[in-house]
Symmetry: C2
Subunit: 176 residues, 2 copies
């Protein structure tokens, strides 16, 4: 993994890919599948996300105030769905889905070696957690795997149906 400038993080999340979210609490690592996230600020990059109280990761995220957002490409689609269909309450998902945890630099939550990008995050605002399970994260360190040249991400349409990245188009624009 190679460091990615924080100012470029929005270019990865703004398109709306399904991501994985890892946590680590008292030595217990976990990973969940997440589609409800958005950018909130370019730099420092702020990301809002919804992690339900029904998700096992909710308590860990709330207690540790740290996580990693890992972005999988389409090759990992079956694992992404598998991760979303079981719980860290009774499963070591890193083992079950043969994902390789890598140490992060600024947080205890692990990076995922198989993902083409990893974003180390700290929770910076919890005002809407009680009412809406909505956390605001600051990305404090970002990583990109240069070996993944042109990863195709996946976008969830419900019940395991995904649209995969297709053609790229470029329209002249002065907006970031």
């Amino acid at each position: 993994m190679k460091a990615l400038p924080l100012g470029e993080v929005y270019q990865l999340l703004e398109p709306g890919p399904v991501v994985l979210l890892t946590t680590s609490r008292q030595g217990h690592r976990n990973v969940m599948t997440m589609s409800w996230h958005m950018m909130v600020e370019f730099t420092p990059p702020l990301v809002a996300c919804v992690v339900s109280v029904a998700d096992f990761s909710h308590a860990a995220l709330r207690a540790t105030k740290e996580c990693v957002i890992a972005i999988p490409d389409v090759e990992l689609a079956h694992k992404v769905v598998g991760i979303g269909n079981c719980s860290g309450a009774d499963t070591d998902k890193f083992a079950a889905f043969e994902l390789t945890p890598l140490p992060a630099e600024a947080v205890a939550a692990p990076l995922i070696a198989e993902c083409f990008a990893n974003l180390e995050c700290k929770v910076v605002n919890t005002r809407l957690v009680e009412s809406h399970n909505l956390f605001i994260l600051e990305v404090v360190k970002a990583w990109r795997d240069p070996a993944h040249k042109a990863p195709k991400t996946i976008h969830h349409q419900g019940f395991g149906r995904f649209v995969v990245d297709g053609d790229i188009i470029q329209v002249p624009s002065r907006m970031p």
Copy 2:
């Protein structure tokens, strides 16, 4: 446009398409381009979005607490970028980009006839507007154009570069 069940709204927004957001204030309609949005709840459908104070639409959204989220397909990409590169402060964008406003049912903001889906929204939470320009909307009425059979949406990667919807894959899953 045909009514879409509110429980299906997340299937349109969760994949992360670029959308248009319309407002109407004191008879002045406006439309902006938006990529920073996410689902917050399935039903009633709640959507979080960031509308910057730098956007002309911010004041209208804040004052009227109403808007429409319209979803364009790839055929509208040039208009989507054009809309994002000018301001409602000095431009009637509906006229400039030849978009057809249609009356909504529950809000004053107009639907956009050329978009394959339109979501009528009311602002239900403004607690993070001051700090993060983050509004929470409730979708109160949803519309889908049945003439658009399989629209391909676009996902913004920055500076007018978009990834267009490609293949659809289906992985067995019991999660919505």
